[in-house]
Symmetry: C2
Subunit: 237 residues, 2 copies
DNA sequence: GGCAAGTTGTAACATTAGGTTAGAATACCA
DNA sequence: TGGTATTCTAACCTAATGTTACAACTTGCC
């Protein structure tokens, strides 16, 4: 069991190698990208616990990657790597939502400290197969089904599971259709025009037995997308 | 400066006196209600940091008060007081969302421990005049105005301040119009039919310079109400 | 292969919640 | 008392979402 999955976007092979080794040694699972285009692709197609992003890259520039990722995944943790002197880049990066930065040349020790710090303050999401509950029941990701308090069940399809997982992992945050298409469907279309998501939501609401007129679990956020309702109250301890 | 404001709904004058004294001694601000009707009124008209609710009351029964309050304020912390033996009431109370219970007769020490515990695990809201920020600026409750990053400002009216405060204090949670009417307007109408809230929201969006078609700060949750957007990312430390 | 069941996507239409405008009521103040 | 700011109401309108019905695709099985 690795501690977290980290995407490293860095073109210098020596530096990349160093980073990967260090992360690997510290029990992280590491994915690599050697240039901007590959980085953009990997970072937008998948969600990682952390992105290590060199700003000076061949291909798509680091800052653009950052902005794209940020648009799609507002909460994706990102640490940027900048060369000494390129202070303006660093400032732009932080403005664009990077969580922290490391200035090259850096020591492995320093990098690891930053990594740990950012991961530490990332709100801990339920891990992949942890139970997600809603007022009238809970989601069993293992068995791909919903179990209700009256112990009845409904089965979930593949896409439904992924959709529910993504939404539930981000409860309390309104997720745009773009973000869903990118994260759940692994597509990357700017400004979509498909009702597919709405369809799936409708089907999910049905299975969740959510209130049809006034949903209480899977909320519609006008002009934005959908949201898994924040837990109203936690009863007892 | 008191630590928190607590509403005590308890008909027995001796017990009530004891509770009030103890809370007072511990720096809490205490409001009292001596029967169910008064309790229902006070608990629905105002929001408190904590509700101490005796279940056996003349007038409106405790459980009904609990349910009404819960409908209006899903996060209102509540501790119920039950007589020894009335176990079914206690269970019902917890089912209906009470956060904890104390069985009579209880020691002051025990009560205080419960109070502290519940308050401790209540998600700490920004206190009344703490700054609330949004991506393009922040709310200054003192001066009743919005300050933007470009250091321009807009003034807020009384109602606007209260509305913004309530929504922002509950960011990430969709607030129903009923809850707003009850908490901000201090009205108690079941199933409203006024567009007043929508109006105020529109004006607020204007002042917040929120995106008109796709709001990013003050979101509309279909069939439910409105929501102050959850913080997308916290930049840096 | 090819049929059946299940899943996912699309097109087209329907509905209505919420945005919006304009003005009436009310409160505030000098 | 008149003027100004604020709040509320009524009425209208639109576009975002819900919804239906079916087409396309996948999967497994004989």
């Amino acid at each position: 069991m690795t501690r977290a999955t980290i995407l490293t976007i860095e073109d210098d092979p020596a530096i990349r190698r160093g980073i990967v080794d260090a992360l690997d040694f510290n029990q992280y699972s590491v994915i690599q990208a050697a240039d901007g285009d590959e980085g953009l692709k990997k970072s937008t197609q998948n969600e990682y616990d952390l992105l290590l992003l060199d700003l000076a890259l061949p291909g798509t520039p680091g800052l653009e990657i950052l902005r794209e990722v940020r648009k799609l995944r507002p909460t994706q943790p990102v640490i940027i790597l900048t060369a000494k002197g390129e202070e303006s880049d660093r400032v732009r990066g932080l403005e664009d939502g990077a969580d922290d930065y490391v200035v090259k040349p850096f020591s492995i020790k320093e990098l690891m400290a930053r990594v740990e710090a950012v991961l530490r303050r990332t709100p801990q999401r339920p891990s992949n197969n942890e139970a997600v509950s809603f007022p009238t029941g809970q989601v069993d990701f293992e068995r791909r089904e919903l179990r209700f308090v009256d112990s009845s069940r409904s089965e979930l399809s593949e896409k439904e599971v992924e959709l529910i997982r993504y939404l539930a992992n981000n409860r309390g945050r309104a997720i745009s259709r773009d973000e869903l298409l990118s994260s759940v469907w692994r597509l990357n279309p700017k400004g979509i025009s498909t009702r597919t998501i709405d369809m799936h939501i409708a089907r999910l609401r049905e299975k969740l037995r959510d209130n049809k007129e006034k949903p209480e679990i899977l909320l519609t956020v006008r002009g934005k997308g959908y949201m898994w309702a924040a837990q109203p109250t936690q009863v007892g301890d």
